[in-house]
Subunit: 423 residues, 2 copies
């Protein structure tokens, strides 16, 4: 089946906001096994929206529209789709009640009059309750074609899609489609593809799709089958083989787990407290860790020692190391990590020191050169990277690599202990 | 004149990446005074791309295509546009030389054979040299319609558009269009619109467009005229009036200056060194400041004192304050800022302490409650905010408000000194 996306909103045509909904929906549709050939953005204009909907219904089986379901006169998506597909509009008592209830729990005492517009639905449409806003989602079915109308704000769209639209799309598909995520850190996209060439080349079912993120590669393995059990059976050996090939470079197989969440999970698992010692990343590394809910249990303290003076005072980096090797060096990175452990009284500390540019590079130490170290249980691992891109890109990549160094250091330490126990 | 955007790339249809190019180009086109009614994304497919180009050329004067100019067989944009518009393809000796030169400075010794494909151009097209890649930009003009073909990678697209396409579009416009940015911090979008209602309501030339960002509102004032001088004359009084109404809430009128850049500019101007003391923002505040090139001149050190112990040890927050008022309190924020100044031996320190959630909130101190303080010259300003949204949103908003508190504290201090001097 073919799906097409229509984003409705003049603010998109003016470039006021980035269209992140389209990426989200496109990835979800791909995971559901739907083909997609067109994505269109159109403004809050009756004639152009009607034309766009008509064209989309001709070339796709499922048209997903986002935006234009609000209470103002500009919001036309429901009205235009009903007209194009031949539905009349009626008030839905259930939605009216839901809106009343929504406003009960709201800070507004009175319900703005135009909100009742959102209780009007196409007669015969499937109404999807929106738990995070007043506009319901709507599904219009006619002559084998389907239009799915969803609210634009991501905070309303995402949960509505997950909870209501995914099950609907799964049900109308002739097959069951299951997918499994494998997230990898430490390999580039082309390296990952090289290592999986034999699997990707011959693939029909399951299929493997790669998604490149900063410093990470995400793999989505998707299987189609008549029954869920059968799809699971198809997925299992492929996921196992990929995990074997990438070993500890796989940091999670959970769809929603981020790299920093995997790190915090390991810290909690092994009952470790952590600290960070940053120079060029200037707090972004700690910022990622602290963004994990519950990080306060494991994160003790962060040092942003941008100046040499702070490196000495806070982390006890020796004057002679800074003089002999410089602030951006293996030796300084090591002493920063060790110093962080002692100063914060933590079990583990990861440090980053580098040249983020655009100035400050030399032939010997060019812009993008970053040293990082991880100190854990009297053992220190150190890594040297040379990142490309602008200042922001260099720092972003350094943060990912430092998180991964922390993750691998913990794994290596405890896997060694495990194998020692066995021996 | 009407412009339409076409993004070419199957990776967009699969949701592998967010389409940030479209937002960039849409904002640029709006600033150039072009109308836009459609944005379309289509895959690397000959027939569908040809259909999309044909439709766009019917309904728009200028069609801007991004992507599909690479050296592989999948890259079809140039070939398809030439076919649709009736251009033949020829090798461009100038571009061939440029590609040769590009590879001279590259790490690759040999030029991959398929790169020569990028020296082939539509006969009669305007060729735009790409300083950051091998694929040139191309402009095809026929029967009053224009197709502008640009490479997809933002690092190539943005400079090419700024340097070559903007002057081209300005030249073909019947009018001169000039715009001026005014960036505001401390007012919400609707507050800004309320304060400008009389100006916005009556606007025809210049026009005022508002762009809401996290914690900020950007205003673009655009004027049309026959001559640049005339457009400048139209802009000037409106910009002046807006600056009057928002006074020091205007942090910059420079298109490219960010809030943290404005803060660093003020620190440099008044020869101040800064430190940060963060709890719930966990390093993100320092991270924003350090992202400004040259921040090392003014930024001394950052403290990420997530635990009470670290707050006491690093920032000398008193035990009794933490006990009596709690870690999230006006008193603690003040002591953190003062402690940061003394510990880092800096002139100014801004502190943040709050409840980012999802847990840890109480009726008295709910999730989203954030205190921040700024200590400068023996004077401390403190603010209390109650942010909405998830953990990430709360922290993001807190960082913006803290940057702005730092900015306003500096301004107020030095403006006072100035008026004292006068008195």
């Amino acid at each position: 089946m073919v799906a097409e996306l229509i984003s409705v909103g003049t603010e998109l045509l003016l470039g006021n906001i980035v269209n992140t909904n389209t990426r989200y929906l496109a990835e979800k549709c791909a995971a559901l096994g739907l083909s997609m050939y067109h994505q269109v953005t159109v403004g809050d204009n009756r004639d152009r929206l009607a034309d766009t909907v008509r064209t989309a219904l001709q070339r796709a089986d499922i048209v997903i529209l986002t935006g234009g379901l609000g209470p103002t006169e500009d919001d036309l998506t429901k009205e235009v789709c009903s007209e194009v597909m031949g539905f009349s509009l009626v008030e839905d008592p259930h939605t009216r009640k839901r809106i009343e209830k929504y406003f009960e729990n709201n800070i507004y005492k009175e319900i703005p009059e135009n909100n009742w517009k959102q209780a009007i639905v196409p007669d015969g449409a499937i109404v999807l309750d929106n738990d995070n806003g007043t506009a319901p989602g709507l599904i219009l079915e006619k002559d084998g074609k389907r239009a799915i109308l969803l609210p634009g704000p991501p905070g309303e769209l995402y949960p509505l899609f997950e909870k209501k639209v995914v099950p609907y799309l799964q049900k109308i598909q002739p097959e069951v489609i299951l997918s499994q995520m494998v997230k990898i850190c430490g390999y580039g996209e082309s390296q990952v593809e090289d290592k999986l060439l034999d699997l990707i080349d011959g693939q029909t079912n399951p299929t493997i799709a790669t998604y490149a993120k900063t410093g990470e590669v995400h793999l989505r393995i998707t299987a189609r089958a008549k029954e869920p059990e059968e799809a699971k059976k198809l997925l299992k050996p492929v996921v196992k083989e990929i995990k074997n090939r990438f070993a500890e470079a796989v940091y999670t197989t959970k769809e929603e787990e981020s790299l920093e969440e995997a790190v915090v999970r390991l810290l909690v698992k092994y009952d470790l407290t952590a600290a960070t010692a940053e120079s060029c990343t200037g707090g972004l590394l700690a910022g990622r860790i602290v963004n994990v809910p519950g990080a306060s249990e494991v994160f003790k303290e962060g040092f942003i020692t941008y100046s040499n003076k702070a490196k000495r005072k806070r982390l006890d980096v020796s004057k002679s190391t800074l003089k002999k090797y410089g602030a951006v060096s293996e030796q300084t990175a090591k002493e920063m990590a060790a110093g962080g452990v002692f100063a914060a009284d933590a079990d583990v500390c990861v440090s980053v020191t580098g040249i983020a540019g655009p100035d400050g590079g030399t032939e010997e130490k060019p812009v993008g050169l970053v040293y990082m170290a991880c100190y854990l249980k009297d053992k220190v691992s150190v890594e040297c990277w040379h990142f490309k891109g602008n200042r922001e890109k260099i720092r972003e990549q350094a943060v990912v690599k430092a998180l991964d160094l922390l993750r691998r250091s913990i794994l290596q330490n405890y896997q060694k202990e495990k194998s020692k126990d066995k021996g």
